[in-house]
Symmetry: C2
Subunit: 140 residues, 2 copies
DNA sequence: CCCTCGAATTAGACAGAGTCCAAACGCTGG
DNA sequence: CCAGCGTTTGGACTCTGTCTAATTCGAGGG
């Protein structure tokens, strides 16, 4: 219990740093996302948070994820038509997406350069670029 | 009636060309997608096909869209967590996605160059790259 | 220490996209 | 005309995510 007390205190600070009031549930949800470098869906996060007994409601998990996204603590990754993944990596990066397994892998954005992008439509500003490299087993 | 008879015959040939048995429903669905350069969701396609009276079932529309994607007649565009869009443009291209309106606009892939992409994970081959430039009104 | 009040959480009903299934339909070739 | 198979169909179902109204929590003031 003591060893991750530290971790959870750190998380509380991280939440405050993003303008988020660190409640118990939010800390648990942040813990589920960050303790673990993977990309999880809302469902998986809900399951992790409620390890043995049900402690946090579905509504809270969805509310909290929306809040985290607004406050830019995590990013949404939209690659699978059926569900959103949440990405704990704060650095600019893109993704490999394994079509067959659903597995997501980060690609550091410093390793990618996109050139000759046409001008944005008039009166628009860029809100972000997502690059998804869909991959599958070579023999299939 | 005559002027789009021609169009529909052309579509039947296009379907055959992709190894698809051109049934009435499939031709109507292809017509809904291609007559019209936009990106439509399954729902919108269903609505278009059943203009006045209900003629084609939801199951058929979904089955057919899956078939068209398999046969590479249309592409899925996954940008909105709540629904898939179907893209009639056969040329390599990417998308601007207007976050506020949901509007999709094509970006010709010839105008874009992605360099320094890291090597694919071992034993994997590339199945496609999607680049989505999310945009929004400059003053918001 | 207790009270108050706004913020956060909750259960459960609800919505919308998409899937599944077993039955019915309708070409096509014999 | 019939058999057989691919296609279509309605409707029930699943799953992800949203909404709402009621309840609980907890920080700050007295």
């Amino acid at each position: 219990m003591f060893q991750n007390k530290y971790k959870r205190d750190g998380l509380a600070d991280a939440l405050r740093g993003h303008g988020i009031n660190p409640t118990h549930q939010r800390i648990e949800i942040a813990h589920a996302i960050f303790s673990h470098g993977e990309h999880l869906s809302a469902d998986q996060i809900l399951a992790r948070v409620n390890g043995r007994a049900s402690e946090t409601s579905k509504a809270t998990v969805y509310n909290t994820l929306r809040l985290f996204v607004e406050k830019k603590l995590v990013r949404e990754v939209i690659v699978d038509p059926s569900k959103v993944f949440y990405d704990p990596n704060p650095d600019p990066h893109h993704h490999f997406y394994n079509i067959d397994t659903g597995e997501l892998t980060d690609i550091d954005a410093r390793n990618i350069r996109v050139t000759r992008l046409p001008p944005l439509p008039r009166g628009m500003r860029k809100a972000g670029i997502d690059i998804i490299v869909r991959i599958r087993s070579a023999r299939a």
